[in-house]
Symmetry: D2
Subunit: 361 residues, 4 copies
């Protein structure tokens, strides 16, 4: 675009000629231009530019973690890049406020001209969902159609291909499974964790039974609660139970990856586990922000076009609302909090192990 | 507090002695202080201070609109005060980010010491809900108990009393019902609106039937959609149908108030209707922000304490999620978008009427 | 772009083919692509898209106010559109956080390849400054060159032309000067305001002199302060003094427009003055946000490229910092607070006048 | 406050009785309560609560780094706690929007009653400045008085004491000076860095001289720029020059600490330097946010009370503006960007050294 040795001009570098001539309001073509259609186009174009950037970051991190061996250096870089995505996500949410300065009545001035185009057709957003790790089986049908039904053939291909490719979820799961620290120089994390849980639950039971103040009825109630609690831990501790939950779709992360995630959370202050801990945190942040975005987006749609039930039996608003929770990718990381136990209940790592989890010089 | 003629000191004015000595971490009393408990206390105290301010504004606006005659001047003031609430609401949401810098494991260091205290016990938040206009019948039971079950007796009294008192919803509804403009100097809004709707639907039907390209099957499908649309408008146009929906809980705003809200939305650029339009907008904003807050709060709870099912059969997270949509107060204003028709389909107001809706000098 | 009767496709409507192929990192051309250059391009493209939207809104408001008679309806619309700009401005500021996820070292990987392109060359930003109302005389030279020195010839033309065209500042000033309410049905605002100020200053003097507690020294000090205060008000009350300040560049808004702005601020609760009051508020908001943006931008530049003094004797950071305050457009509206007097010191409007400032039905 | 074994109540835990009864508007005492004074009090109380929390975090990090040996584990914890402060800082800035919903005219209703109390008297904010590391010599006089002149005697003592105590700046500087990696297993960072700089500057000179296209005049100009650049690097490379700049107040960080900071920035991807890199980043973030806060605060003051020149010759607004840049604490970290050189120009670390900067297992 720029001849060599010619000084670079800002407008050329950013291709502003193309960029700033890519807004073609439909209302202008037909009749009187609707003032707010320009806003509508610009807002959506900004979304798509951010989506491109998110994909750029996602792809780079998937590449790093997709290798059989993840260079220690790259984990820190990955955390920074995913952190960048969370900063963009905050903008995606805040940006809805700008769109909401357009009132429903103003939208009505050109809404019908856009039919049937809609945000459902953002193929980049579908790519992001798949690259992030949405399970195709999680997806809801909309009016009995798959989510890519209304994409152009080439966009459909792109999207379907990412269903097969490694996602961030998958590569992180594999990386977790490879963690060497679950059994490390004679220290077996799972054995220690299991024992700590059992002791904690045992002590809880003793406390209930020996409490001189509480009535029999209260004790029974507390024991029932304890039982639920125990069942919960058993479903984690027994690999088979865990796998059953996976097959039913109540868990997704493999048993070994779950163990590794728990280890990282519990021993996160050991220098070698600190960056991995930041990684798990930023994944949870991303998931939370996507989920918050879905919710705020659904609210905005409700406000903008109401809640008219279509012949398919569902409304845009209700469909969007239904996807909000269902489309979380790292739910298992959220649920991990259920299985944390206070640090005081965990053994310190053996000195030898600790030394190896720190830096050595 | 301050003797007359004594110069006022910032710290005395703000009562900082009391304010800054009101953080008493529980973890310090028992054993080793948990560093993050101070954050936990401060965040919640900040919430409560903002709640006090929100109540201050809500009360003042309810007072203004609770009178039989609302001074024209006061509508502008009310919009500014409610706008202030929306600015506070944005902070309430953003503030969750500060709380989330506390990890679940850090929370675990003192969580059990707080039992059974919880945000469920914020009586000020319950007052806000009721003052804003939450219908007691909308409320969900939590573990079979009413929402104020765990408040102190005096806080219960405060909360229950607000269930009986005029809410923002109620006073705004009454004010809408009193609008003189529905029938104004011979101009009957509802007659015009009905006619415009009927013409629009008729034209839609003609367009479907006469379309030379579409197949019979397509036409049938389109006619079915149109029929749903017609039913929707009928439910608005016929007072009796509307009242049936109200009695079933699908609508809340009275038929007359709904008409007035629609008039304001459609003729919002007339000077006299402009500030009322801003009022409806800010009410929708508030509702949207409360709803977004509920959702983000539920996400944070999920992240912080997981999703363990209690003996009552529900988890905090699931309960909170269930309240999110159900607790909207001005849903009818959101749904209003369904009934808007393009300005071009509406008659201009008669010159005489318009002159009276503008300023006169 | 779209054949008539062909269903519109989201990606075609937004011209995503062009939009998403307009990122051409320079680092890729030469050698190894620098990962963060994509971010750098996308962030700047998003800025330019928002700038286009801001210009769209500014132009529409300048058109409305540029007419000899501003339709009352349009003031409300103008406030909404300028309010939209302030929402965009918040994003412009928050967006810097995304850019700051790129570290200075990462920027260094491709920074030299961009030479001499820079944000100084954003012609759209210059258009915004001029349309908003920046006075060409306010501008600072950078390395002895005018601000448009490095724009392409056609962009220079565009920018220079806007220096001549009506700006938001100019059209609002004219509109203020035309206000009929300064002398309205026998009520002369300026006479009343002057009298209220004089009484206030007289009472202040009496209070100082009669205070039995304060020493002579204290009294002298207080009288000196009062004198400064009096001088300040005189510079407002005497048109000639005001005009002197204008000619020295200490004030910009004409005397009559200043009076009108003061009237609007002081009687803002009168329905007819309420929307004009919102207009003055949103203009101040815009100015504040632009100023805050300049400051945050300067900080980011400091952080990203340090503070090396160039041969021209100035650094980018120092230049940017120097523009921050100097480039405010509506300073006079900020300074207006100096001249407000408590409402209790102002006469109520005569009943007849008030009735005409309200709605009439 | 809570008897043992009694269930904890949310309102008791947070001491809501005291908290919510600590708002005593002055306007109510005298005459008619000014509606917005409650907002004014609440906003300032929220600021003070956040200040308490910031001090809690600052103190804990100063304690960690104040020891002769900083546990590797604690650096990660420090980064998280300082990161929490930056999240709070964002709220401090955004919160100004809430205060700005109070118009200057509304403030005038009670402003005089507060005299002479003012935010200048926030002793907690002064403690934060000192703990963060503000140099007492950086401070400006306001009307010829020191910054703590109007504090109560006990608050003055608190504030003056922190001028003597270790600040975050000081303990971080000492920690940087102790870095073992500047000379590590035969690898001398400074020697390598110096050589890389010299080669870079030499190559630049060659490029200028040998360029066949540029005129003599252009070459001279480019050589002058290069010379400035060289001087800049010399002032860093020569310890004596650096110390001169320190004694003149142009630098603050010691020469050895500056070297260490540069090492960390340049080799930040080495696992052992990654968390230290995050530490330097979060310190810069904090400084940027404080600075941005000062600026936004000054703008708000301008808007709220105008810019009347006092007898002392300065206005609140001008004083506040003057402090903005002057009060930066970690300017040297911002300026560090000036001295970065592209990674490609730096030697890779010797394999043996790298292995020791990574994890070992």
């Amino acid at each position: 675009m720029n001849k060599p040795d010619q000084p670079l001009y800002y407008a050329d570098y950013l291709q502003l000629d193309r960029l700033l001539s890519s807004q073609a309001p439909r209302s202008g073509e037909h009749d009187k231009a609707a003032h707010d259609e320009t806003l509508f186009i610009v807002v959506h174009q900004v979304y798509e530019l951010w989506f491109k950037e998110i994909l750029h970051e996602l792809n780079s991190v998937i590449d790093m973690f997709g290798k059989n061996y993840v260079n220690e250096k790259e984990i820190g870089i990955a955390v920074l890049r995913l952190g960048r995505i969370t900063e963009i996500q905050k903008l995606l949410i805040d940006q809805l406020r700008v769109l909401e300065t357009m009132t429903p009545l103003d939208f009505l001035e050109f809404r019908d001209l856009l039919h049937p185009a809609s945000g459902f057709q953002s193929f980049q957003f579908r790519l992001i969902e798949n690259k992030f790790g949405m399970n195709p089986e999680q997806r809801l049908l909309f009016n009995k159609e798959v989510y890519y039904a209304h994409l152009s053939p080439s966009h459909q291909d792109l999207v379907k291909r990412t269903e097969q490719e490694p996602s961030l979820f998958k590569v992180v799961e594999s990386w977790l499974e490879r963690t060497p620290f679950l059994e490390f120089q004679g220290f077996k994390f799972w054995t220690h964790y299991r024992r700590a849980v059992e002791e904690m639950l045992h002590a809880d039971r003793e406390n209930i039974l020996k409490n001189p103040i509480s009535s029999d009825e209260e004790k029974e109630q507390q024991l029932r609660e304890l039982h639920v609690n125990e069942e919960y831990f058993i479903a984690l501790l027994e690999e088979q139970k865990h796998n059953e939950l996976v097959s039913k779709g109540h868990r997704r992360l493999s048993h070994r990856a779950t163990q590794a995630a728990l280890l990282i959370e519990l021993y996160r202050d050991e220098p070698i586990l600190h960056i991995p801990f930041r990684l798990l945190t930023v994944l949870t942040d991303m998931d939370e922000q996507f989920t918050a975005w879905r919710y705020r987006h659904a609210l905005m749609v409700h406000r903008m076009i109401g809640n008219k039930i279509g012949t398919g039996g569902s409304t845009g608003y209700n469909y969007l609302k239904a996807t909000v929770d269902k489309y979380k990718v790292f739910s298992d990381l959220f649920n991990l909090s259920t299985f944390l136990i206070p640090r005081s209940k965990l053994p310190d790592l053996p000195e030898e192990v600790r030394r190896n989890l720190g830096f050595y010089y």
